[in-house]
């Protein structure tokens, strides 16, 4: 048993002695290494972070406190604080119980056992690769920002019903921004690559891609106001789905009437051609874990099946509220930003690996079939779209005209808008086959018909 799980179990016992009816402790340890660079290395960095949270229940009243320490004295203090909050708290009539059983499933390709053995030299070598690749495309190009990082993430969860589990995941990430041109006219482009494995990073590929694109973006301009058929590059479309669907198919959003899907279960919400699945066990998926942040095994959950809304995503609390089983979607990393560790939050339901099912068409074929329109490569502000009202809007920071089925001039600075509910019902039926492991939402290159363009 690891230090992390024994710390959690010790804290559970201590907290029970103070008089809670039920207690759960979630503990985390993160070791992260990172190199930040431009054309040269700006800084090399390493962090170690450990902490735990106490979730204690007293007469259906909840107390929650977290602390960035596993030290006995700090844990005792955290328990005192949690008790204080629980005693003053309002009774939660929906509180059922902490799980009496935890479970773990088999997951593949989430741990790179060699990542901890990497030295700073290996990370420096990867930076050198990025710099050399960019220079090889065109010596005048400049890397304006970049980072390479590795993470080892340990979690343990234990409760007063005698349950205890631990898990480990590793991660590697590479991100790069490249600039072409002078102060008078610039072209800029960004790319990222993520994997559970160090060898899964595609630093060379993304460095080459951004370099070529930055050169093309040099002369980008807006297009005229009006309507346009668009094709969204896979990652850019995944970001739209993330914004519009991820927060609204979570059971807490539905139970609290802040989802447009209230009362729509079993109904046709999309065209027959659209299926969306949460693949909790996707091989190598960035959201793949043996169990969720409640101790429930992750699994596959069909959300939209051939256009019909089939399921919402549940953690234990929201599942208990409806007297059903959790779907293994408890997350403690929602609403936090970057390094804010997952142990500091209470669980709530969220997608693990939400996948918009691809078709068999090549992306090039989607462009050809679109004939004339706009190819959207990078956007900003798409996360400001409104998932409740359904208004999708994004500002294109990198795109290309599609002219007679081929790429035309570069485009930037236009706002594209549509309605997500209408998109689902027939405006996004043409999709490619190019699903890629990236974040926690996955989509292929997708055609979106009839978007409104605000430009010149």
């Amino acid at each position: 048993m690891s230090e992390l799980l024994s710390a959690a179990e010790r804290a559970v016992k201590l907290a029970m002695k103070r008089g809670f009816d039920e207690v759960e402790v979630f503990s985390t340890k993160i070791i992260r290494r990172e190199i930040i660079y431009r054309n040269k290395i700006e800084a090399a960095k390493t962090n170690t972070l450990a902490g735990l949270s106490i979730r204690g229940i007293l007469n259906k009243r909840l107390g929650f406190y977290s602390v960035s320490s596993l030290d006995h004295r700090d844990v005792e203090n955290a328990i005192d604080q949690a008790i204080k909050i629980a005693k003053a708290n309002q009774e939660d009539p929906d509180w059922h119980a902490l799980p009496r059983k935890y479970g773990k499933t088999q997951v593949k390709k989430t741990i790179d056992e060699n990542i901890e053995d990497l030295g700073a030299k290996d990370l420096v070598k990867e930076v050198q690769l990025a710099v050399d690749t960019v220079q090889a495309v065109e010596p005048s190009l400049a890397i304006t920002r970049g980072y390479i990082s590795t993470t080892v993430h340990y979690n343990a969860i234990a409760n007063s019903h005698g349950c205890g589990l631990e898990r480990k995941e590793t991660g590697a990430a590479s991100w790069i921004a490249v600039k072409a041109g002078t102060s008078e006219e610039k072209g800029v482009s960004h790319e990222s690559s993520q994997s559970h494995f160090w060898k899964g990073l595609k630093t060379e590929h993304i460095a080459k891609t951004v370099s070529e694109r930055a050169l093309k973006m040099l002369h980008a301009k807006p297009i005229q106001n009006g309507k346009a058929n668009t094709v969204w590059r896979n990652d850019a479309f995944a970001s739209i789905v993330d914004t519009m669907l991820a927060p609204t198919i979570a059971a807490d959003a539905v139970q609290n009437n802040r989802s447009p899907w209230v009362g729509k279960l079993g109904q046709m919400v999309a065209s027959e051609n659209v299926s969306i699945i949460d693949e909790g066990k996707m091989v190598g998926g960035m959201g793949t874990r043996a169990f969720d942040d409640d101790g429930t095994p992750q699994r596959q959950v069909p959300v939209v099946e051939k256009g019909i809304l089939r399921n919402f995503l549940y953690d234990t609390y929201t599942a208990n509220k409806e007297n059903r089983l959790s779907t293994g979607n408890a997350h403690r990393d929602i609403g936090t930003f970057s390094a804010a560790a997952n142990y500091t939050r209470l669980p709530s339901p969220y997608p693990n690996n939400l996948v918009v099912e691809p078709n068999s068409t090549d992306p090039e074929e989607v462009i050809r079939e679109t004939r004339n329109g706009l190819y959207v490569v990078e956007t900003i502000g798409e996360w400001l779209s409104n998932p409740i009202g359904g208004d999708v809007s994004a500002t294109v920071s990198s795109g290309f005209l599609i002219e007679s089925g081929e790429f035309g001039r570069a485009v930037k600075g236009v706002i594209v808008t549509s309605n997500f509910f209408e998109m689902l019902k027939g405006k996004m039926d043409l999709r490619a086959n190019d699903l890629e492991i990236s974040g926690s939402v996955y989509a292929p290159t997708t055609q979106v018909l009839d978007m409104t363009v605000a430009g010149d």
């Binding site: 090399a44 309507k227 706002i415």
Partner: protein, 490 residues
């Protein structure tokens, strides 16, 4: 309240239990900085942080969560042969921390070959302590008092059956930092922020709309006690019930008046980021090479200020440099960039106290503090008179914005806004997305109002390079000649 602070420098004494730990931490940090020097670092600093946060959420009449956290840790930063090495840990026993210094030095040495040959601009090593005066420590208010306030406000927001969701939140942040450098600087800061937020979702005619809104202030619980949060929550719901039946505007490029909240957001995205020294030094920013040139009309003067009423208080940055008031634009001319010590050397400018880190584990990078526009002389009526067809863009209910600094495109999401026709306010339009190109849009600012507001948020902040920073922004009402507004063509 913040203006009183200019002359207020408190003395933290080692006489209470809560200060003891922080006081002995001074010596620990000093020994870490010295150890780094012994291992070959030309410069080193050590940062300790103790952050307490509380977030309480009431949704549709019941308490959804009450989360409190305390995070502490130490980060060391060493400069060896022009290369930065950083190491940090939340485990703060002496042995672990000594180990971290060695790791930082080792990392710096490993990256020497490719290093940027960083050099720090000279600054005076300051010893100072700044504590924001807090009348009522939020931790001294019993949890049930806070929950009751939220339950009442949450209920007040249920103004009718059209309100489908009402979510009310209280947020408290106390951020204590100690900075010690090998040059002899020693800075302690202690800043408390409190705030209330309301989200209301309304449904009508088969459509739904949400309006989020918040108020925060650098102060203790006295700020919460001074507000009428029931009225605030009710107003947000009233806005939600109106906007759900409002139309989307026709898309296109129009003249617009931005209110103080949105001019703040606009300046933050369109000008503030582009003036960050690291992005200028890397030549990514569209403002690179334009220092001294005129990039906006004469009516536009913009500052970044660490101490402005309503904003987030930043007396010193995380390099121990005082954050005063930096002029970015003076009567339309680009006068200054925001600097850290290393970007100041690179660009041959003076440090401005803008090197900020989210926490002890992050590298200080160039960040804004509070960016705002100086007020002008016009009334709202005078601003609106000049517009034949355009929009009055409001910040209430806005979600934020983003900029592509290199490409020069910015975007932000406004709250419910209004159509302007022939110099008069007409009907409400739905929340819209706005966009423009930094350099083109700044030039179209043609009239500046005489009101003035700066705001901050305990709930949100500004994200850059994976780090979140607390910021503020604002200004007067301002008229822009040309802004692209996303809407809908039916």
């Amino acid at each position: 309240m913040l203006s009183d602070l200019k002359e207020y420098i408190s003395t933290l004494k080692c006489d209470t239990a809560s200060n003891l730990e922080a006081c002995s931490m001074d010596d620990v940090l000093k020994s870490l900085a010295n150890r780094a020097r012994d291992l070959g670092a030309k410069y080193s600093d050590a940062r300790y942080q103790d952050v307490r946060t509380t977030l309480i959420v009431v949704e549709n009449g019941s308490l959804r969560s009450y989360e409190s956290n305390r995070s502490t840790g130490v980060g060391v930063r060493v400069l060896v042969d022009g290369a930065w090495g950083l190491a940090s840990s939340s485990i703060t026993d002496r042995a672990t921390l000594r180990q971290k210094v060695s790791e930082a030095v080792r990392l710096a040495k490993a990256s020497r070959k490719l290093s940027a040959n960083t050099e720090l601009a000279k600054v005076r090593a300051v010893e100072k302590e700044v504590q924001l005066p807090v009348k009522i420590d939020p931790d001294d208010i019993p949890p049930d008092t806070k929950v009751k306030l939220l339950l009442d406000a949450n209920k007040a927001a249920k103004i009718g059956p059209e309100i489908k969701n009402s979510t009310s939140r209280l947020g408290f942040l106390r951020d204590r930092r100690i900075f010690v450098s090998s040059e002899g600087a020693k800075i302690k800061t202690d800043i408390t922020t409190s705030g209330f937020s309301q989200l209301s979702v309304a449904a009508a005619n088969g459509s739904m709309e949400r309006v989020p809104e918040q108020r925060s202030y650098c102060a203790g619980y006295e700020f919460i006690e001074s507000g009428d949060w029931n009225a605030f929550a009710r107003d947000v719901s009233q806005l939600a019930s109106k906007v759900v039946v409002a139309p989307l505007p026709p898309p296109g490029t129009y003249p617009a008046i931005l209110d103080p909240e949105l001019i703040g957001l606009f300046l933050h995205e369109a000008l503030g980021h582009a003036s960050e020294g690291d992005l200028v030094a890397s030549k990514e920013s569209v403002l690179d090479g334009r220092l001294g040139s005129s990039i906006a009309s004469e009516s536009v003067t913009v500052y970044d200020d660490g101490n402005i009423d309503g904003g987030y208080l930043v007396p010193f940055d995380d390099e121990g440099v005082p954050k005063g008031k930096t002029t970015i634009l003076d009567k339309g001319k680009l006068r200054g960039f925001l600097m850290s010590r290393d970007t100041a050397t690179e660009l041959g400018l003076e440090p401005t106290g803008n090197a900020r880190a989210q926490s002890f584990e992050h590298k200080p990078i160039v960040r804004m503090t509070n960016v705002y526009m100086e007020r002008g002389s016009l009334t709202f009526d005078e601003l609106i008179k000049g517009i034949d067809y355009g929009f009055y863009i409001r910040g209430r209910g806005s979600l934020g914005g983003q900029v592509d600094v290199g490409g020069g495109t910015f975007t932000f999401r406004a709250g419910p806004s209004y159509l302007i026709e022939k110099g008069e306010l007409k009907h409400m339009v739905r929340a819209v997305t706005l966009a423009g190109k930094v350099l083109e849009t700044l030039k179209t600012i043609d009239a500046v109002g005489k009101d003035f507001t700066v705001t901050t948020s305990v709930f949100g902040g500004c994200g850059k390079d994976g780090q979140m920073a607390k910021v503020g922004d604002g200004g007067p009402h301002v008229r822009l000649g040309k802004l692209t507004i996303g809407g809908r063509v039916d």
